[in-house]
Structure formats: structure tokens, C-alpha cells
Subunit: 378 residues, 2 copies
């Protein structure tokens, strides 16, 4: 088994510096995963992602199952070969997308029936099916199917979703292990997902139930969906307090630049978010001084780079005035350059955070980021 | 004056191998100019264009005059600095765009009044104004304002447009020379444009009239706008037969891959066309075997590169199946990869053509391309 995870340093806050080893290379943690929903990060080539230093991407099981189809990806040699990405890939379970994108969904204990958001075709997925799809995709890390609910949720909804999430996790785990026995060596790690909405006791209960299933890593799901940041942190803390210290913890779908260090301080090792890529396409650039809404007329003749403190290839070459022009003119190149910068910014935050943990000054880093990003966009 | 043009080899057909020297580097001719209408080639960064070996780009005076405005570009150090492109730039005069994009245009001998296609604002341009705009942009080669007419055109329309084009060329030339006397050394070359629609005698007359004005280079305009290829060739040949052998000739707005060698054989040194970039965004890929319409279902599991004979970074890394998926999924990365390949293909045709001229087998190259591109798309 070519997987391992080691925590190399822990600071007083609980932040962890570590290394996740996968069959597709090592991943320094804490790590941010750029989102490549449909086997592509919008606006970046794989060459660009390599140059940016991305060590792991997220791709989406729901989307790839529907298009091009997991059997097609399997035939083409798996997701790494299909998209020509030699480094690590994590696939989410598609649970969140089934609940947010699919139409006419019907949930039973058995699984979910839904209609594709692409063509209305009918599909039925189960926890076992989701394992199968991800084995076909051949991702390094596969998430189990969970039940995602809207928040704020009444307690009874949160309880029943938690119960089902644990049942599905158990079935996912045993089906995965069955496949492992059948296939011999597995080139994939399976992660469980802690649910429980915004109820601290349910978060603890969910974590405890999943611990029995001995996942090599654990995610915290169903957060950062509209609740206040301190609630996200509280719920995350409830989970990480119980999760095994020697295994990676992944907080799904976060976060804003100023929030990332907070999650790391709660013992989170992995994060993903569409924010840097989506914001880039909407002309919102992240900088060491805060957000820059580059379409603003004040940048029309601004010859400075997006961020004077940034070492990315966009900041080394292009001016704010040029970026503003590209967005104003609706040029494709605007999205390419902005995405490159924003993803660099996020990966750079993670580099700084990893360094801060090693030098024991993560708290300082966090307060600086909060100050810069609560002043509002420039 | 840091400009020069030398023809280093001529073959029997009349094809010329040359070198255009500009203040922003040398340009090996025959050359294809990728189109960067609004100071950006859609889907490519300047880094990518450098890696592709582009030595000169085309940008558009009409578009840059309207947005961001030539005075803004001047303040920001000129077009090269604005877009961070250290190599050569040719700006067209905007004549074609005024006639094809602008609204409510009114042409007089003095110039053109029109409304912006962007915001309806009213503008008045004259041949002198167009010289001024391009001096502000600081392009290496500036085209004079010409009158473009719809084709097929009645002879009397062609005659009157030709007459006005020559008058405007004369005013452009003398205003440019006036600026040169005022400013000292000019870092720009001004090219005249031969008009005359599809009337051979008018083309000859237009060329002769422009010769008197002693432009350092000459373009052939108003072609490839719907007339048959052999008419384009006939009209081009009428012009090049009269144009001075020691000066560069530029055929504007061409062409299809299989037509390029024909134009070169007529003594054309420079060409520009939106085809490789526009076709790429519409999933039409050019290959050594003909067009590949990559959205076609037959490519869904095709593990070959776009073109097995292509050495571009896209063909070295990605499969047709992946490209097809990206287009089917509407991913931004599809346009980036497809554009990169198509521009490489065009620049590679030019490399092969330059080689063919040196070895004296351009005719053979041309017939191979015709055979491959008349078979229809794959």
C-alpha cells in the first residue's frame, strides 16, 4: 500500500504540519485542493497547475458519472490518464451535487433516485455504486456517499440524515473492503464524512460512529453552507477533537482566505473550495492587501501588478490596467490570468501556513489575514 | 531607423523567403499574424504566444480606440507595455471594423462618422486621426485608413471607393511624414492598402497610385470576403505583380490552411486571420490530416492526440477523448487547449512553407494541403 500520512509537527493551537503520501506523489499538508469538477480546473491547463505547485486536485463523482461516464474514464485508463494529471486526485462522492443539482430526487435507505441536471435521464445511486464509480475513476482518495441536508435544519432532519449517513458509510466501507479482497492491492483510500448539521452533540455522535469503521481519513461535511463562521469553526472543532490524530482530516468546501488559518488551527489538514476559481471569473482577485474588484474604474490606469507581494507569473508580467481592460472587453484571457493568480494566492496561503506552523506563529498569520479581509474589497 | 526588410530567397513561383526587422525583433517571412483584436489573443496568454514562437501579432485600432482608448494606452507606455508583449505588433486601421461593426456610419471625403457598437457614442475618424491613434498605440506597423465596400460590388462603387482610398492614403502618408518631421525618429512603419474589389484593372490602378506614395510596405485589402478562392488569388496576383519586390506585401484577413501556400506563391509575405482562434473556440481543430470536429461522438474514446504529427504541447499531453469531453462539458480549458493547438498548426504551416521555399518545393506542399483540406472535416 503506497499510502501514508504523517504529522511532522503540531503547534499549540492544534494546527498540524504533515505529509500525505499517495501513489501519485506526496502532498504537503495543510493543503488546499483546487476544484476540477469535470476533470478540469476552469481556466487552467494541467501544465499551469503543475507550475503553480498544486499537488492534489478535487474532481466530482456526480459530474464525471454523468459525463463522460465512469466506464468511459475506466476504459481510458482512469482519471489521471484521462486528464493527464500525474499528481494526486480526490473525488468527492457526488452526494452534495445530487442534493443541490439533480432534479426530482427521491431518497430512501437504499440510495437516491434522481434525474440528471444535464438531460433529465433517470439514475439510481447507492453507497456501493458510488464506491464502484470512484474505483473506475481511479482517484487516490474517494469520499463515501453521505446525505446532505439544507441548513439551518430542524434537529429531527439532522438526526435522520446523520443516521442514514452512518448506515451508508458502513455499507460503503464494507463494499470497499469486499472489493479490496477481490482485487488485491487497492490504489485508493476511502474517507468517511462527519455530518450532524449545526448540532454539536450530533457532530460528536457522527464522528464516534464513523471511528468504528476505521477510515484512513475523515472529512467534515455539510458546513460552510450559509451558517456563521464561528458555527463552522465550532462544529469543525467538535469533530476534530474526536478524530484520530494520526489520520488526515478534510474540511469540505472551504473557505475564504481569512478563514483558512482558523480551520487549520482546528486540526484540519485538507480543504477545497471553488472560491478562488469562481471569484477569478467574476473579476474578484485576492491579494495580500485584501480583495481587488478589478473591473472598478480606479484600476483603468493602474500600472501596478495585481499584488505587489505576489510572485506569480501574472503579477510578474501584467498590470491591473491590463487585467481590467481584459475583463471590460470580455476577453477569455481575463479568466485565465485571474484564475492563475487566485489559485497561486490560495496555494501561497497554504505555503505560508505550513511555514507558520513550523515556526509556531500561525495565530499571528491568522489575525493579519482577518484584518485585511474584513476591511472590504478595494 | 531600426526597420528593414530583406528577401533572402525567391522561388520560381514568386514565393519569397525574407526577414522583417522591427524595433521589437525580427519576423521571419512568410509570416502568419495571430489576431489579438483587443490586445489579447482569445484564449492565449502572452507566455503561450511566446512559447508558440509568434513573432508578430495583429491588434485592432477601432477596438482599442473605443476601449480602453488610445490615450490611455499611450499613458500606459504604448501597446507593447500595456499588454506586456515585447515582440512586434501590427495594427490595422479600423477601416474594416468601422464598415462591418459600427452603426449609423456616414462616409464623406473628409472621413467617417459612426456610432460605437459598444455604447452608441458618436465618433468621427479621419485618415489623420487614424495615424494619430496608431502613433499613440505605438505599434510597429500601422495601416492607413481605407474605404472597405461590400462585395460583390458594382464597378462604380469599387471605383469611388478606390478613389477615396487613394486620397485617404495620400493624406495618411503626408500626415505621418509631418509627424515624423515633428517628432524626429519614427518607431513605426506605415503600410498602404491596395483596394479595387474584384476588378483586375482597378487593383492595378490602386497599386500604381499607392506606389507614388512610397510606403515601406503594401497590403492587399478587401479580399477573402466571400469571393471564390481563385478570384482572391487573381486579384492578389494583379497587385503583387506591380508592388516593389524589395518591400513586404501583406494580404489582409486570410486564410484557410490549404490556401496559405497559394498566397505565398503569389509573393505574399504576411497574413492574418481569426480562423485558427475562432475555429478553436468552436471545436474545429486543424491537423495535418484535415479538420477534426472534436465534438463528434467518434472521438469520445479516442486516445490519440489531436494530430499525431504535431509537436505542440497539447498534442504531446492530451487525447482527443479529453478534448471532446472538455468541449462537451463546456469547460473553459477546452478553448485554451484548442486555441493553442490551432495557432501552433498555423505557425507550423508557415515554418514548413519557409522551409519549402528554401528547398524550392512550395508547389508540392501546396498540393498536399489542398488534398487534405478538400476531403472535408473528419
Amino acid at each position: 500500500m503506497s499510502f501514508s500520512f504523517e504529522v511532522t509537527k503540531t503547534d499549540r493551537s492544534g494546527a498540524r504540519r504533515g505529509r500525505l503520501t499517495t501513489p501519485h506523489g506526496a502532498v504537503e499538508t495543510p493543503v488546499f485542493l483546487p476544484v476540477g469538477t469535470q476533470a478540469a480546473v476552469k481556466g487552467l491547463t494541467q501544465e499551469a497547475l503543475e507550475a503553480l505547485g498544486a499537488e492534489i486536485l478535487l474532481a466530482n463523482t456526480y459530474h464525471l458519472y454523468l459525463r463522460p461516464g465512469h466506464e468511459v474514464v475506466r476504459k481510458l485508463g482512469g482519471l489521471h490518464q484521462f486528464m493527464s494529471w500525474p499528481r494526486a486526485i480526490l473525488t468527492d462522492s457526488g452526494g452534495y451535487q445530487v442534493f443541490s443539482l439533480a432534479e426530482l430526487r427521491k431518497i430512501t435507505d437504499e440510495g437516491v433516485r434522481f434525474r440528471s441536471h444535464l438531460d433529465g435521464s433517470e439514475h439510481r445511486i447507492t453507497p456501493e455504486k458510488v464506491v464502484e464509480i470512484q474505483l473506475a475513476l481511479g482517484s487516490d482518495i474517494a469520499m463515501v456517499l453521505d446525505e446532505c441536508i439544507e441548513t439551518p435544519a430542524p434537529r429531527e432532519n439532522a438526526e435522520s440524515a446523520l443516521k442514514r449517513t452512518t448506515q451508508w458509510a458502513r455499507r460503503s466501507r464494507s463494499y470497499f473492503q469486499e472489493c479490496a479482497q477481490r482485487n488485491g492491492e487497492m490504489h485508493q483510500w476511502q474517507f468517511g464524512i462527519v455530518q450532524g448539521a449545526t448540532f454539536a452533540d450530533l457532530r460528536r455522535e457522527s464522528a464516534r460512529q464513523l471511528l468504528d469503521l476505521q477510515f484512513p481519513g475523515y472529512a467534515v461535511g455539510g458546513l460552510a453552507v450559509g451558517e456563521p463562521h464561528d458555527v463552522t469553526c465550532e462544529m469543525t472543532g467538535e469533530a476534530t477533537a474526536l478524530l484520530p490524530k494520526e489520520r488526515p482530516r478534510y474540511l469540505m468546501g472551504v473557505g475564504r482566505p481569512e478563514q483558512i488559518a482558523d480551520y487549520v488551527a482546528l486540526g484540519i489538514d485538507m480543504m477545497d473550495c471553488v472560491l478562488p476559481t469562481r471569484a477569478a471569473r467574476h473579476a474578484c482577485l485576492y491579494t495580500s492587501e485584501g480583495r481587488v474588484l478589478i473591473k472598478n474604474a480606479r484600476y483603468a490606469q493602474d500600472q501596478r501588478p495585481i499584488d505587489a507581494n505576489c510572485s506569480c507569473s501574472v503579477c510578474r508580467r501584467y498590470t491591473r490596467a491590463y487585467l481590467r481592460h481584459l475583463f471590460a472587453a470580455g476577453e477569455l484571457t481575463a479568466a485565465i490570468l485571474a484564475t492563475h493568480h487566485n489559485v497561486h494566492f490560495y496555494l501561497d496561503i497554504m505555503r505560508l501556513i505550513r511555514e507558520a506552523i513550523e515556526f509556531g506563529n500561525l495565530a499571528n498569520f491568522s489575525s493579519v489575514m482577518h484584518a485585511r479581509y474584513t476591511a472590504g474589497p478595494a
